[in-house]
Symmetry: D2
Subunit: 384 residues, 4 copies
C-alpha cells in the first residue's frame, strides 16, 4: 500500500530511513496564503531533536529543515510543500551486527517477513527518526489551526509508574480561570523540564526512576496526554471517519504506542450512565457540557468542549541487558544491544503526538467545509 | 466526507437510520468465487439482534438479511454485494419528544451543529442500529479469513466493574493445548451465556450487577476483548497504515468506544523494557515470540503470534433517571428518557467488534498481496 | 478494487446486475439541507428508461426509484442516501445460451479471465443497466449545482455519420443572446426528439440512417456533446486531479465510450499556437476569454468560460448478424445474437454523460472549499 | 485536495516548481526486491530533457536524478523511494514581467482565481517541468512491468498536420512477425530522430513544418500514440476504475492534452456494429481477438490484445507573436512572450505519456492481485 501518506485534504507523505541520506515529507493540500518560513517548522523539530537531555540518545543531529517547494514570497501557494532534513551522524558501523538477528520488541522480524529483506541500519524505516516527517508536516497544521483559534497542550502524564497528580480537567480549570497567563505558564513548565511534565515534583521523581533504569541498563515507557481547546462543534464524520476514530489511528500509527483513550477512556467502562453522561447547560449563550467525561467528542463529532486524549507508550525496546532471540540462520542466540539509544522516548514523542493530533483535526476541519448547503452558498453564492 | 465507507480493497459502504425504511451495506471488492448465502450472514446478525436476553432492548426486529446483488449461483462474482435489512418495529411515536432537546451522552447536539438539523427518530444515523451494516459486511470478511486459516474469539472481558479472572493468554493457552476441542468449547461458552463472557462465575456476578443498575434506572459499560489466531506474519503497512493503527480506528468508529489497547496496552507504559520485550525462539521450525506482551504486532506488522486487543465501552447514555440538559430553544430543562433501551450494549457489541476487526485484517491482507516482486511473479509469471 | 465508487466528497457507490433483483446506489457526502424527493430523481431516470422510442430495447422497465435513507422531512440530512430501483422484466431465459460463449464487443471474455466466471444474464454487471445508479446519483448532483447557478446542456452531436451542423459555441451564442428563453428552447428541442439532437434536420437524417441499420440487423454509434455554464473559475486540482482529467475518467468509465475531448480536442493538435490560444478581455468587469478553444479549462482549472466536451460511443455490440467467436470449450463457432437490444445507445446515454459530468464537477467544487486560508476564515472565523 | 498524488498501490506524489529549488517525487508502494539504480531512471529523464534538439527550449538542465531513500544494497525495500532533481538554470529574471498579466493558453489566470496569487516564475507548478516527477516515478513502473513481460512503444503520430502513414496495427504487425528485431528497430527509429516519429519521411516533413512555425514565431501541437504489449487479460476494475478510464485520466492530467482515444476512438462513433466488433478466434491455444478495433480493452478490462491509445496535444501557448490579454489591474493590454520556449512539446512529451500509461497499468495490475479467492489461496495458502 501507499502506507506513507496521511490525510485526505491536508495530506502528508513521509520518506526516509534512520541511516539513509535524509528524512522528508511532502505536504499536499495546504491552503494557499499561509505565512510560512523554516523557523515555524524548526521550532517543532527542536522539541523532538536528540541530545536535549541525558535521557535521550547522544546521536548528534541538527535536524535542520529546508523548504524545497510550495512557498513563494513567504506564503504557501497551494502547491505541494517539500521539506527535507538531511541526516548527518549516521555511524552505520554501529549497526552492522544487527543485520543478522531479530531484536526483541523491534520490527526486524516482521519487516523481513513482509518484504523479504530489510535496511537494518538503525531500524531503517521503522526507526523513530521516521517521525521527523510527521513533525515537520504537523508544524504547518498547528500553525493553520492556531489561526482558527485552536490551541494544543501536550505533555508527559506518566513516566514509568510516576504519574502527575492532576487530571487534564484540573490542569485546564486553572488554565481557564485566567486564560492567557496560565496557558503560557503551563506551556513553559512543560517545555522547560527535560521530561515535558507539567508538574515539578513528578518530574523529579520520574528522573530518579529513569536514573535507576539506566543504572540497570533497562528502559521505561509512559503516558502522553493531550488537550485541544477552541475546536468548533461539528468536526468529525459519521460513521467511519469519526474524529476520535481518526485520532486513535493517527496516534496509534506512532511506533511504540500500545493504547489510546479519549475522555474518561477505560474508566468509563466501569462507570454507570448516570455518572458518565455529561449534562448540558447554557454558558455565555452557548450550549455547553457541564462536565467532560466524553473528552470533547459525541458520536464522533466535536462538541465544542476541550478534546482530551491519552496514549500509552511501551518502554524503549533497545536495552543493553542480555536478551534471547533468533538469528537469520534460525539459531537461538543471546544478545545485548549497545549503541546510542534513548532510555525513554516519551518526552521526545510529546511533540509527535501533538503533530499527529493536529494533522487529524485539520484534515477533518477541511472536510467539514462541505457538510451543509449553507456553507456552499456562503462560499460560492447562490444562482437561484 | 464520504464517511460511510470503510476499507480500501474490501470496502463496505453502510446506510440507513434507526427508524427509516431499513439498514444496508454495499460490499465492494469481495474476491470472486467465495461460496456465500444469506444464512452465512444471518448467523452473525442474530448475535447482535435485540431481544436475545433481558439485558437488551425489547424492540422487536427480525433483522433478516436479503442479498440483492453480487452473488450468482451461490458464489460471489467479484461485483458489489448489496445487502438490505428492512426495519419492522419503528414506533416513531416513542421519539417525538426528543426532537426538541439534546440527550446527554448522545450525538443529538453535535449532529445539529454539523448539519443544521437531524433525523431525531431513535438517534437516526447515530443509532446502534447503524452497526447492522458493519456486521453484515463483516460476516463475509470472517468467512474469507476462515478459508485462509484465521479464527476469531471475541467476548466480554468486563461488565461494569466485573472482570473475568483470566488473561487472554491464559484463555488461549487452554485453547492451544487442544486446539479443536477447546476453541469450540470456549466459543460455545461465550455464545450461550447472555453476556457473552467466557467465564460462568463472572457472568453470574455481572448479571447481578446489571439487575441492580436496572432497578435504579441506570446503565453499565464494559470491556470487550478479541483474539485473532492464524494471522500470517507480514500484514500491516508502515508507516501510517499499521495493522494496530487501522484496528484502533475500526474499533473506535463503533459508537460508545472510549479506549483501545493492544497486547499489554496501558500496562506496558509502566513496565520496563526487560519485562515488556518478547524474546524470540524457534518453535516447530518457525520464529516465534516466547511471550506476547506485544499482542501480535511489531512495528505495525503482524508477527504470526495471536493478535490480542481490548476496547472500552461507555455505559448506555439513555437512562430513565432525571438529567439536566438544554432544548433547541436554548432553555435549560430536566428530562427523563423512556422508551426501549439496552441497560448495557456490550454483549450485543461483541459481534460488531469482531466484524470490524475482520474487515480491518482482510483489507490489509488484500493490500499485502503486492508487497514483494516475488508475489507478483507468482501470480503473473515473469516475462524475463 | 472497490471499483464501484466514484467521487471523494460526493461519493456514489453503485451495485446491481441486469437480471438480478435490482440496481441501486448509495450517495454519501451529500451536503445537508437540500430539498429532495423521488420525483427529482425519477425525472432523470425517465430520460434513460428503455422503450421511449423505436430505437431502444423493448424491454419493459418502469425504473421506479425509491429513497431508502438519508432524507428526512423532505431534506437531505448529510447521511448516506440509499436509492433502489427494482428490476421487473428480467426474462433470463433470453440469455441461457450466451452462458457458453463470448460475445464479440462485450465483456464476457474479460470478466471470465478476471474473476474465473461471470453472471452471464444480460451481461450481468457489465450491462448498460448499471448506469441507472449513476443517473440516480447524478440527478442529486445536478440539483445541487443548479442551486449554485450551474446549468447543463447535453445532446447527441452525431448519430453514426450524421452530425449536427452547429458547433457548441454556435449553439451557445444563440443561447447567450437571450439566456432564459433560448436555453429552455434548446432543452425542449433535445428532450422532445427521439435521438436527443438539437437540430431537427439532423435528427430526421439520423433516423433514416438508423432504419437502414435496423433493416440490416446492424447497429450504430455516435458522439455526445456537453456544455456546462455558470461554473466559477478556480475548480480543479493541479496536477493529477485536474477538472478535465477527472471528466475524462468519468465519461470514459461509461461502457462503450472510446474517445473523449475537451474544447477543440483533436483539432487543436493540428492548429498553431496563434490560432488556438484564447485571448483574454474584460467583460462586465470580469476577465473573460474572447474565444473558447480551450473548452473552459486552463491548466486543469475552470476559467469561468463554458465547459465544452465530447465523447465518442462505439456502436452497440449486440447485433443479429452472424459473427465468429469462441465458446468456453475453446471451439470456434458462429453466432447470431437475438433478444431485446438497442440498435443505438447514444440517445439513452445522453443523460448518463450529463450525470457523470455533474458528479465530477460537484466533487471538485466541494474539494475547492479548502483551497485558500481566506475560505477557511470565512467559514470558521479567525482566532487571531 | 491532495491533488499531487497518483495511484492507489504504486503511488507517486510529485512536488516542485519550474524556478524553485528542484523537482521531486516520492514513490510509495513499490514492491520490495526490485533491482534499481539511478541510471535506470536517468535513462528516462534524458528522453524529456531540454536541449536535445533545435525544437526544444535552450534552457540548460542536466536533470540529474538522486535517490534519497527506499533503496538498500541495490534493491527496493518496499518503503518510499524519494527522488530529487535539483534545478540549475533558473534565470528568474526572464519571468519578472509575466507576474503582472495573464498569458493566453496558460494557467496564470486560473491559479490566481483558485489560490489568490501564484508563483509566476516560469509558470511555477503549472510548468512542463512538473512532469519530471512523473517520468522519474514512471521509469520505475516501466521496469517492474518489463519484468512481468510487458513492453511499451510510444511515439509522435502527428506533428501539426503531418501524420505518419501507418496505423498502430500496421506498425505492430511488422513488429509481430519478427518480434525481437523489429521492436528494437522501431524503438531505435523513434529514439534517434528528433521528433520521436517512427517514420523517416514524416519526420522530415514535420521538421519543415516546424521550421516554418518558428520563422513566424508560432508553435505547433500534435498527437502521441502508445502501444502496450504483453498485458495479461483481466486488468482493470468495473465499473468506475476501468483500465481505459484510468488511462484517460492519467494522460489527460498532462498539461496541454485536449483529447484521448483508445482503439478506433472517434472513428468508432461513425462505424457500424458489424464493422467495429472484434471477432474471437483461437490462436496458439489462447482466445484472441481477430482484429483490434477495441484497442485491447473490453468492458474496461484488458483482453490480452495490445493496448493502443492516442492523445492530442495543443500547440505550445508561449509564442512571441503579439497577443491580447488582461493584466492584474484588469486593463486590456498587448503582449509578446519572449524567453526560452519549446516551439512544440510533443516530442519531449512522448516519454511522459509512456510513463503515465505505465503508472496506470501497474497500479491496476497490483489491484488485480486480490480479484479471486484462488489468488489469495495461492499467496497465503488455505487453512481448510
Amino acid at each position: 500500500m501507499a502506507g506513507s501518506s496521511f490525510g485526505k485534504h491536508f495530506q502528508i507523505t513521509t520518506w526516509g530511513e534512520s541511516h539513509g541520506k535524509g528524512i522528508g515529507v511532502v505536504v499536499d493540500g495546504c491552503p494557499a496564503g499561509l505565512a510560512l518560513c523554516e523557523s515555524d517548522i524548526q521550532h517543532f523539530l527542536d522539541r523532538r531533536k536528540p541530545g536535549q537531555s541525558r535521557y535521550s540518545t547522544p546521536r548528534k543531529e541538527a535536524d535542520k529543515v529546508e523548504i524545497l517547494s510550495g512557498v513563494f514570497e513567504g506564503r504557501t501557494t497551494g502547491t505541494p510543500i517539500s521539506l527535507v532534513i538531511f541526516n548527518q551522524d549516521q555511524r552505520s558501523r554501529d549497526y552492522g551486527d544487527i543485520a543478522t538477528y531479530y531484536r526483541p520488541g523491534h520490527a526486524d522480524y516482521t519487516f523481513d517477513e513482509k518484504y523479504g529483506f530489510r535496511d537494518y541500519r538503525g531500524g531503517g524505516r521503522s526507526s523513530g527518526r521516521e517521525t521527523i516527517g510527521r513533525v515537520a508536516g504537523g508544524a504547518i497544521a498547528v500553525k493553520i489551526l492556531q489561526q482558527l483559534g485552536i490551541s494544543f497542550l501536550t505533555y508527559s502524564r506518566a513516566i514509568g509508574p510516576v504519574t502527575i497528580p492532576h487530571t487534564a480537567d484540573e490542569l485546564l480549570s486553572v488554565f481557564e480561570q485566567n486564560h492567557e497567563d496560565s496557558f503560557a505558564k503551563i506551556q513553559n513548565q512543560i517545555l522547560t523540564n527535560p521530561l515535558y511534565m507539567p508538574d515539578h515534583d513528578s518530574s523529579e521523581k520520574a528522573q530518579a526512576y529513569l536514573e535507576d533504569c539506566m543504572k540497570h541498563t533497562d528502559s521505561a515507557g509512559g503516558i502522553i496526554e493531550g488537550i485541544i481547546t477552541g475546536v468548533p462543534a461539528g468536526i468529525g464524520e459519521p460513521v467511519f471517519e469519526k474524529l476520535d476514530a481518526n485520532l486513535a489511528k493517527a496516534i496509534f500509527s506512532i511506533g511504540a504506542v500500545k493504547g489510546f483513550e479519549i475522555g474518561d477512556g477505560f474508566l468509563a467502562a466501569a462507570a454507570k450512565g448516570s455518572q458518565n453522561n455529561d449534562a448540558f447547560c447554557m454558558n455565555n449563550g452557548a450550549v455547553t457540557p457541564v462536565t467532560n467525561h466524553a473528552g470533547g467528542v459525541l458520536g464522533g463529532i466535536s462538541s465544542g468542549a476541550p478534546i482530551i486524549y491519552r496514549a500509552a507508550f511501551k518502554p524503549t525496546p533497545s536495552i543493553a541487558s542480555t536478551q534471547q532471540t533468533v538469528n537469520n540462520a534460525q539459531e537461538e542466540i543471546s544478545i545485548s544491544i549497545h549503541g546510542r539509544h534513548d532510555p525513554i522516548i516519551v518526552p521526545r514523542a510529546v511533540v509527535v503526538v501533538e503533530c499527529m493530533a493536529a494533522l487529524t483535526l485539520l484534515d477533518l476541519i477541511l472536510e467539514n467545509t462541505s457538510a451543509k448547503m449553507e456553507s456552499l452558498e456562503k462560499l460560492y453564492g447562490s444562482g437561484v
